[in-house]
Symmetry: C2
Subunit: 132 residues, 2 copies
């Protein structure tokens, strides 16, 4: 079991790396665009799936946020006018989320900052997507 030390080492490096980047990112997005990291990431997922509207569930599925956290994040975005929630006709439990024009603009601007920060931190970082 001499690999335990290596295992812990990898874990600590992951911890440090994540926190460094996340902290920087959050600060940069907040200062330059008034967006938290979670807010930006949420917008980003919505823009990515370019189908105008998206259900909460789908967004949550490819994010790290819990269902309740996402709900509140979307609420904040809506309050800021970056996103609109609408009922889903086919399944009235569901909620569609749609970006507004303001949302698109802010996202596009923030994306620059986002990429810049990532580039300074993750230039030499490997992909961690699980193989399975």
């Amino acid at each position: 079991m001499e690999s335990n030390a290596a295992l812990v080492g990898r874990w600590r490096s992951l911890l440090t790396c994540y926190n460094t980047v996340a902290c920087d990112l959050d600060r940069a997005l907040q200062e330059s665009h008034g967006l938290s990291m979670s807010e930006f990431e949420t917008l980003d997922r919505i823009v990515d799936a370019d189908c105008e509207k998206r259900r909460m569930q789908e967004i949550a599925a490819d994010m790290y946020l819990s269902q309740s956290a996402l709900s509140r994040t979307v609420a904040r975005l809506e309050k800021g006018g970056l996103v609109k929630r609408g009922l889903c006709e086919s399944d009235r439990r569901g909620v569609f989320v749609e970006i507004t024009e303001d949302g698109r603009h802010r996202h596009a601007e923030a994306r620059e900052t986002h990429l810049k920060v990532l580039a300074t931190h993750l230039a030499t970082t490997p992909d961690l997507t699980p193989v399975s």
Copy 2:
């Protein structure tokens, strides 16, 4: 700039990887040993530097926690009897943190769980320590 997609991909994988492991780790440590992840990591740093006592500052230095978060984490650990705070004679602003016997035991037990969870998640993960 076609590498932007790759950059974002790496970031998202980091985000997902970190959150998955951290969430699992937190849950496992909490359920089996009544420790949060931050609490365990703090204990871990103290045990690692095997010099009986350590100043807050030194602990904070190789952790991801902010100064205030560490202060409260240590407060929680002390309340649980896993750690003792003592004044530093040479610089009376400083505070020494010392593990108790209970602390050592809990840490040793929790370490098993910790390693187990890490092994299931980070078996094939590379080290992320910055080269610089």
